[in-house]
Amino acid sequence: MWKVTVSGLLAHKLRLALTAVAIVLGVTFISGTLVLTDTLRSTFTSLFSNIYQNIDFEVRGTAAFTDSSGIGSVRKAIPESILPKVRQVHGVSIAEGTVTGYAQFVAPDGKAVTTGGAPTIGVSFDTHRQISALQLSDGTAPTSPEDVAMDRATATKYHFAVGDRVKILLIGPPQTFTISGIVRFGSADNLAGATLAAFATPTAQHIFGLDGKFDAIDVVTSPGVDKAAVRQGIARVLPAGTEVVTGQTVADEQSSAINQALGFFSTALLVFAFIALFVGGFTIFNTFSIIVGQRTRELALLRIVGASRRQVFRSVLLEAALVGLIASLIGLGLGVLAAVGLEALLKAFGITLPTGPLVFQGRTVVAALVVGVGVTVVSAVSPARRAVRIPPVAALGDHRSDQVESLGRRVIIGSVIGILGIALLAIGLTQPAIELVGVGAVAVFLGIGMLAPVVARPMSSMLGRPLAALFGISGKLGRENSMRSPRRTAQTSSALMVGLALVSTIAVFGASLSKSATSSVDNAISADAIISPSTLGAFGFSAAVGPAVAKVPGVTSVSTVYNGRFVAAGKVSTLTAVSAKDLAQTVILRMDSGAGPAALAAGELLIDTTTANARHLGVGSVVPVTFALTGRSTMRVGGVFKPNTPLGSYLAGDSFFLQHFANPLPAAVLVRTSGAPGTEAAIVKAVEVYPNLKVQTRAEFQKTQQAQINQLLGLIYVLLALAIVIALIGIVNTLMLSVFERTHEIGLLRAVGMRRRQVRSMIRSESVILSLFGAIIGVLVGTGLGVALAISLKQQGITDVVVPISSLVVFLVLSGLLGLTAATWPARRAARLDVLAAIATE
C-alpha cells in the first residue's frame, strides 16, 4: 500500500501542492511567531543578565504588592542616608545610589522624540564603569547640572552630537541640557526601543523629584569575600521598608516582566495562526473529498484486487500525513525566515533590539510538525472514511464522483454541533470564559459547514441568476456547475465562510466599540478641551501642565487626571484621580448612590456600579487598600457612580492620590473654558513648550479614540487576511479539480463552438458564485457573533451595538472580486484545454 500511496501523491502533485500551501502558510505563521518570541525572550534575558552581571546586590524599597500588569512593581524610594551605611559594611567595594524617572527628548524640529510604546527613561549616570550598564561611546559622563548623556540610537536618528543642546521634557517644566556624552546599552544602541537620558546623580535626583532619595543602591563586593556574609551585613544596616537582593534577582524580575509582555504578544499571534490553520483544514478536507471522489474507480480496483478497508483508509490518511509533513517542514523553514523578517520590520519601526542569535527551540519543531501534520490528517479522516465505503463493484460501473447524497444525517449532526456551539458561545460570553468562546465558535463553524450544503443549491441558483442574465450561456453554465454538487460548493466556500465570519465579527464589534467610545466620551466628559499625550502608549507628561493651563485667561476649570495601580480588596486595580473641586465642570459623574465630589474631597473612594455589584460593595463599605508608597490602609466607599469608561472602576480625589503616589505623571488634563474666543488658541500656546502633548476639543478627542480603534481593527484585518488567502487558495484548488474533472465536458463545449473567453467567464461565474455563497453565510454568521460579543461586553463599556452595513456590503463585493481573481488560473487552464485531447479523453 505504501507504493500506492506514494504513486497517488505523485499523480496528484499539483492538487496536493495547492492544499499544502494552506498548511505551509499556517505553519509558517506558528513557527515564525515561536522563533521570534523565543529569540526576543532570550535576548532580553541575556541583556538584563549583562546589565546586572557586575552588580552583586541591590538595595531597594520593598514592594507593597506585586503588580503583574507588566509595568513591574512600584517601590518606594529609599533615603539617601542609607548609602554611607552600606558603604561601611565589610566587604562592600562599591556602592552607588541610582534614580530613575521620566525624561523625554525633544527633537531639533521641536517635536517630542517618540518611541512607539517603549518608555522614555531618565536615569542617574553612574560613574563607576563596573556597575553601570551604560557605556560611553563618545564624549564624557554628565557631571554638571547642565549635562546629559544620550542613548546612541536617539543621537543617530536625530543627528545629535556631543556639545549640542537638547530640550528635555520632565515631570516639572522642560529644561535644556548640553549633551556631554553618547551612551550604549551593552552592545545595543538603546534598550529595546526606549530612549535614555542619563544625568549626574544629584541632577537626576532633583529633576525626578527625588531630592535626598534613591530608587536603589547598587553594590559590588570586594574580591574574595563571602557574599552571603556581605548580604547579611547590608541587611543589618537597612531600615524597615528596604531590602537587599542579588543582581541576579533583579535581572530575573526584569526579564520576567518582559517575558510576560512577550507571552501576550505570542499568544495573540498564535490565535491568528490557528485561525489560518482552521480555515486551511476546511480546504484540505475539501481537496481530499474531491480526490477520493475522483479516485473512486482506482480505490475500488484496489479493493477488488484484495486491499482491505483498513488498508484503503490508511492509504488515504498516509497520503494526508505525507502532505502535512512536507508542508510543515517547508512552513518551518519559512517561519524562521519570517522571524528574521519581522525582526527587521521591528527595527524599521525604530525598535532596535539587542542583537542575538535566532533561537530555534526543539519545541518549535515539534509544535510546527504536530500542528501541521495533525490538521492535515484530521481533515482527511472524513474523506478517508468515504473512501472506505466505496464498494469494489464501483471499479466496473460508471460510479459518478459527485452523486447527490442524502443530506438528512448531515442536517441532524450539523444542527446538533451548531446548537452545541451556540450554547458554548453563550456560556463563554456570559461567564466570561475565552476558551469556551473559542470552542463554541469552532463548533458553530463546523455545524454551519455541515448545514451549508442544504442551502447551497437554492443559493447558488439565486446568486447565479444575475450572472446568467449578464453573461448568457457562460453565466448559466457557471451557475449550473455551482449547483451540480451542493456539497462541494458548500465545502469549498466553507473556508471563506469562516474567514469572512471572523472579519464580520470584528467589523461589528469594532463599529460597536467605536460608537460606544464616542458616546462614552459624551456621557463621561463635559470638558471643552482635553490635553493628553500625543502618542499612544506614552507614560504620561509633566505635572506642570495643569497649573500652567489654569492661568490661561478664559479657562474656568482645570482637572488633572492621574492613574495609578493599587490593591483594592485584595485585587490589583487601577485608581483614577481627579480634583474634587473642578469635577462637576469637567466630568459627568452620574451617581447611583452616595455622594460625589464631597466624598472625593473627604478622601473617600468612589466606585462604579459594575464593581459595586461584582464585589458586593456599597456606600459605607470599608475597603482594605494597599499603596506602594504608603502601604496598607482602608478606604470608605463614599459613593457609587454609573459606569463611566474614561474614569474606570475606582475614583479618588487628587489630593488623596498625591499623598499615596510618588511623583505621579498626569494622564490627561481636562479643561473647561468660558467659551471666550481665542481661549483654545491660548491653551495651545500655553502648552507649546510640551511638544509631547496635544490639545483637543471633545469632538477631536472622540475622533482620536475612533482612530485608535480603527488602527487596531486594521491590524486584526491584516492578520485575518492570511485566513482569507488560504480560503481563496481552497477555491482555486477546487476549481482546478473541477476543470480537470470536466475536461471532457469543456472539450465538448469548445467543439460545438464555445469561445475561450466564454470558457473563462463560465469558470469565473462559478467562482464568483462560490465566493459569494461563502461570503454571505460568513457575513451573516459573523454579524451574529459580533452582535453577541458586543452585547456580552455591555458591562465593559460597549453600550451601543452597531452593525456596519456598508462595511459588510463592501466585504461581500470584495469577496466577489476575490472570487473572480481566484478563477484566473483555473479559467486560463480550462480555456487552454486542447479540444481534441479533451474530447478524446476517456
Partner: protein, 256 residues
C-alpha cells in the same frame, strides 16, 4: 462574428461544389524515428447535400482526417477547406466560430453537457453565438427525432438513443454547411442505431444536409451515398451507392 466575414467566409455559398475538401493533407505525430504518419497526403472532396461515409481499419487515419477537416486538429501540411474557407488560416477564435456556425458534430459518446437540459443542449451553439433559435425548425427537428417530450430532461435522465438524437438535433439546428458524425451509433443497440442512421439519411435526402460519418460498421456505411476507404493514412478506394455487402467486401480486401 466580424472576424469570419473579414476572413472571407460567404454565408451564401453556391449550392454546387464541395461542402468540404482536403488537399494533400498530411498529419504526423511525434518526431524522428518515432514519427507516425496518421495522414499521408490525402486529397478528398465531400460533396454538398450528400452523405459520405469514411471507413477504414483502426489506425487508418479516419478520425484524424475528420478532426483536421473540422478544425479540431491542425494538419502538419496540406490544406483543408470548409466551403471556400481554408481552415488552416483561422486562429483559435476563427476555428471556434467555424465550428459553432458552420459545422455540426455528433460524437460516439458524451455528446451532451450534463448540467443542461436536452432543449438547452440542442440550442447550445445558438446560445453560444448569442443568436436567436429558429423556433419552427427546432420544433420540427425534435418532433421528427421523437424527443419533444424529453426536452426538459437532463442527459442523465435520457436513454443512450435519446441522447444521440438530441445530439443530432443540436448538429442540425444551425443548418450547418457540414455535419461530422464520429461513430454516432457506436454505443447504441441495433434498434436505436437503425433509427439514428435512417434519420441521418433523411436529413440528407429531405433537408439537403451534408454529412460526413466516420464508421466501422458496414451496415451504417450502407446508408451513405458514397463510402471512402482509408488505410495507413491514405485514401485507397471509394464506393458509390454502397450496400452492406459491397462495403464488407471492400473492407476484407483492405485487410480490415
Amino acid at each position: 462574428m466580424t472576424s469570419i466575414e473579414a476572413q472571407g467566409i460567404e454565408p451564401g455559398a453556391p449550392p454546387s461544389g464541395a461542402a468540404a475538401r482536403a488537399v494533400d493533407l498530411c498529419k504526423t505525430y511525434g518526431k524522428g524515428d518515432a514519427a507516425v504518419r496518421a495522414l499521408d497526403g490525402i486529397s478528398v472532396e465531400f460533396e454538398r447535400g450528400r452523405f459520405t461515409a469514411v471507413m477504414g481499419p483502426s489506425g487508418s487515419g479516419k478520425s484524424t482526417l475528420m478532426h483536421c477537416m473540422a478544425g479540431l486538429d491542425s494538419p502538419t501540411s496540406g490544406q483543408a477547406f470548409v466551403g471556400d474557407q481554408e481552415i488552416g488560416q483561422l486562429d483559435d477564435a476563427g476555428l471556434t466560430q467555424l465550428r459553432r456556425d458552420r459545422i455540426g458534430f455528433v460524437f460516439q459518446s458524451f455528446n451532451l453537457v450534463p448540467t443542461l437540459t436536452a432543449a438547452e443542449n440542442i440550442t447550445l451553439p445558438a446560445d453560444l453565438a448569442g443568436k436567436p433559435v429558429d423556433k419552427e425548425w427546432f420544433d420540427f427537428l425534435v418532433g421528427q427525432l421523437g424527443i419533444a417530450d424529453r426536452l426538459d430532461h437532463r442527459p442523465s435522465e435520457l436513454s443512450g438513443g435519446q441522447q444521440q438524437r438530441a445530439a443530432c438535433a443540436r448538429a442540425l439546428i444551425g443548418r450547418p454547411d457540414l455535419i461530422f458524425a464520429d461513430e454516432p451509433t457506436g454505443n447504441l443497440d441495433s434498434n436505436a442505431s437503425g433509427e439514428m442512421l435512417a434519420f441521418l439519411r433523411r436529413s440528407v435526402t429531405e433537408f439537403g444536409q451534408s454529412i460526413v460519418m466516420v464508421t466501422h460498421d458496414p451496415r451504417g456505411a450502407a446508408h451513405a451515398d458514397r463510402v471512402v476507404f482509408l488505410a495507413d493514412g491514405k485514401l485507397v478506394d471509394e464506393l458509390l451507392a454502397p450496400t452492406a455487402d459491397t462495403v464488407l467486401e471492400q473492407m476484407k480486401n483492405l485487410g480490415g
